[in-house]
């Protein structure tokens, strides 16, 4: 290799998991290099001040790499369309920062029912709790403490985002029914922090945040990681993870601006390229000794892909709700139906999350469900009745980890560097279809209790069309209990290669019925702490220890 450099830990991917890892390691003085295929995002590259801000969601700020077609993106093929962003911050550049935690029961779904590929997590909520707290403090969570439906959580950096008229209205609906509900935790500053401005309730969270109120990792973790001396290389697309004698030795990457290849040699490699990019890279790293891809001797890399099962329910009411204000996707949530009740005909449960809408154009163009204002004579009446009279209730269900829902390599299509792209296959399980159908009815009950509802529309089961919309991409390299049931042990160490770790959303064993990022970052912080404390053990291991034998913190 023409050029190479050396480091202690090589992190691949500068998104949610990779940033948390890089920062935590470098806090402890570990020398870290991070390779990221995308670049930095400039605050002026957000659409919030343009007159076409609503339309930009279909172009520059599309959630879909296949639609944006930026050079740093890689296409995907298959029957599902995973949404992701590639750059410093990863998909958090696009995320809304809804910040619930998994519940204790979520770590024990194998015990509870074990349906399809469901297994217990190798760790418990209690194991993860300290790392949730560390991560919450880093990102500056907005929170109202006291939710009786969850274990106690520490005070937020700031108070919960205000709920506006939508929050008051839907809160009354849940109250009327006697159902659980609570203001959402958000990774959104409600109080200034480290040069990041507090949220000003602009209502457009899913176009990133030019105020840096939303904790995308380019503004939360990266400034501190860089100050710690992390060598972050952008436009650096990893092609292969290299190995020698059963251990990872580093990675070869392509500089997207010059096309040149370089190598980073490392004592430990941490993969955090997300639930699509991570299995892709492991499969592309097939080499001598690893004919089916790295860390894939049991064939589980890429399997048990989860998206959450979804339905979006738009409701319009007979009073002004001003949904163009305030946090877009997560005003409040109800977890009344979170736990499994077998009498319902399905296992697992769901959160009902209340969100808002964008502006006037989005309202005329069907809000979240394609309910488009008619053109011509009826336009004005429809618009005037619907605009800013709306609340979104979305049913976010836990989907089963199914082995055949998976990421493979599609050799027929390549990205802008000539690397084969991932093929993504996902079918909604019958259990999850039933769950969402039942959840849709509960959403409607809640809206009608808040009432009076003047109009409603739904995306139907699974989001838009068949597979659920893939913004919560989870599983594919799950942590587990044995080398037979998973890709990594409980410390995120791959079973096949002891100094290769995976710390992104692909490591989630099950997906729970809540947004995943607070949990995957807590897992990443925990793994970073482990690597830091056990560096000498890890770098001398020739075999990945079992969960029972692995040295503890």
């Amino acid at each position: 290799m023409a050029t190479h450099s050396e480091t202690d830990v090589l992190v691949i991917g500068a998104g949610a998991g990779g940033a948390a890892m890089s920062k935590r390691l470098s806090d402890g003085g570990v020398k870290v290099t991070c390779l990221e295929q995308g670049d930095w995002l400039h605050p002026m590259n957000h659409p919030h001040m343009y007159d076409g801000w609503e339309l930009e969601r279909l172009r520059t700020w599309s959630w879909h790499p296949n639609v944006r077609m930026f050079p740093e993106d890689y296409p995907t093929t298959g029957n599902a369309a995973p949404m992701m962003m590639n750059g410093v911050g990863g998909s958090t550049l696009h995320y809304a920062g809804a910040w619930p935690r998994f519940k204790p029961v979520d770590f024990r779904k194998g015990t509870e029912h074990g349906l399809e590929g469901t297994i217990d997590w190798p760790i418990s909520y209690e194991d993860l709790e300290p790392f949730y707290a560390i991560n919450d403090a880093e990102i500056g969570v907005a929170r109202r403490v006291g939710d009786p439906g969850n274990p106690p959580r520490p005070e937020g950096w700031g108070p919960a985002s205000r709920g506006g008229k939508v929050g008051r209205k839907m809160g009354r609906g849940f109250d009327e029914l006697g159902w659980h509900w609570w203001p959402a935790d958000n990774a959104i500053l409600t109080r200034e922090k480290n040069n990041r401005m507090a949220c000003n309730d602009c209502g457009f969270c899913l176009g990133g945040c030019p105020r840096h109120a939303i904790a995308s990792t380019d503004v939360s973790y990266w400034p501190k990681a860089l100050a710690n001396g992390v060598d972050l290389r952008v436009n650096a697309r990893v092609e292969t993870i290299t190995t020698a004698n059963g251990r990872a030795t580093g990675a070869v990457y392509i500089d997207r601006t010059t096309g040149a290849r370089s190598e980073v040699r490392a004592k430990i490699v941490v993969l955090a390229a997300n639930s699509i990019g991570t299995p892709r890279l492991l499969l592309l790293s097939a080499q001598k000794g690893y004919p089916d891809g790295l860390a894939n001797s049991n064939g589980l890399v890429g399997t048990h892909l989860m998206f959450h099962s979804w339905s979006f329910e738009d409701y319009w009411f007979d009073e002004p709700l001003e949904g163009f204000k305030g946090p877009e996707p997560a005003v409040l949530y109800s977890q009344e139906f979170y736990d499994t009740d077998p009498s319902r005909g399905f296992v697992n449960g769901f959160s009902l999350q209340v969100g808002t809408a964008l502006g006037a154009a989005n309202s005329a163009l069907g809000t979240n469900t394609g309910k488009i204002a008619p053109w011509g004579a009826g336009h004005r009446e429809f618009f005037n009745k619907h605009f800013a009279h709306h609340a979104l209730v979305y049913v976010q269900g836990e989907d089963l980890p199914v082995r055949t829902n998976r990421v493979t390599i599609d050799p027929a299509v390549v990205d802008s560097s000539g690397l084969p792209v991932p093929h993504v296959h996902y079918d909604l399980h019958e259990n999850d279809r039933r769950l969402i159908t039942w959840g849709q009815e509960r959403a409607r009950e809640a809206a009608e209790a808040a009432g009076p509802v003047i109009d409603m529309a739904t995306t139907g089961i699974g989001g838009v069309g068949g597979p659920p919309p893939g913004w919560h991409i989870m599983g594919t390299c799950r942590m587990g209990n044995t080398p037979e049931d998973s890709v990594t042990n409980k410390w995120n160490q791959t079973w096949d290669v002891p100094n290769l770790f995976i710390t992104d959303a692909s490591s989630l064993t099950t997906g729970a019925a809540v947004n995943p990022t607070s949990t995957l970052q807590a897992v990443s912080v925990r793994a970073a702490e482990y690597i830091k404390r056990r560096f000498a053990d890890i770098t001398s291991q020739t075999k990945t220890p079992s969960n029972a034998d692995a040295p503890d913190f």
């Binding site: 639609v67 203001p183 011509g376």
Partner: protein
């Protein structure tokens, strides 16, 4: 001289293309006439032709020399050709006749019609005069602003109802309380 042209490189330019796609005056007349039928003015709202929807739309049509890789997937040449097809006959027709033509277009070429309608909606509801009409005429839109930033809505945002929150009940299953549950009958192996 400073070159103000936004070039795409390999990304769509945020805010649209500058300089925008060029339409002739007769083509702009057709577009205005279409827009006025799609969103008729009245009830305190201006007609689209009065608020320069054309100026918005031409920024998003790919100008000559650029591929239509991104939404609305229309090139300048193709768009101009479509407008020319309707031509002055459409402009001078009565409103009822124009509506019939548009109904035909919607039926026969749903994809193009959909893009045209959506672009008119996006354009119209982005215009400051229309935002002002929303502020004036709709109670729900009193506070609505031209764009989310820089002002946001913190100054006009309602807070939580503490009374309601004090009544919330809920529970969760503790780790040690998780037990095997019987699978629903229809899901048993």
């Amino acid at each position: 001289m400073i070159d103000v042209t936004i070039r795409s490189g390999s990304k769509p330019p945020l805010g649209g293309w500058l300089p925008p796609a060029a339409l002739s005056a007769p083509q702009a007349d057709v577009l205005n006439a279409i827009a006025d039928e799609l969103i008729p003015g009245g009830e305190g709202f201006p007609p689209p032709s009065g608020v320069n929807v054309v100026g918005f739309i031409v920024r998003y049509v790919a100008p000559s020399g650029q591929e239509a890789k991104w939404y609305p997937f229309l090139t300048e040449a193709e768009f101009a050709r479509r407008l020319d097809e309707l031509g002055s006959a459409f402009v001078s027709a009565s409103s009822a006749e124009r509506v019939q033509v548009l109904i035909g277009l919607e039926r026969d070429d749903a994809e193009f019609f959909g893009r045209l309608r959506d672009m008119v909606y996006y354009a119209y509801y982005s215009r400051p005069e229309v935002v002002a009409a929303i502020n004036r005429n709709l109670e729900a839109g009193r506070d609505y602003r031209n764009s989310p930033q820089p002002y946001g809505y913190t100054d006009v945002m309602d807070d939580w109802d503490d009374d309601l929150l004090s009544r919330v009940k809920g529970t969760y299953t503790r780790t040690e309380d998780v037990v095997r549950l019987p699978l629903p009958e229809n899901l048993r192996p």
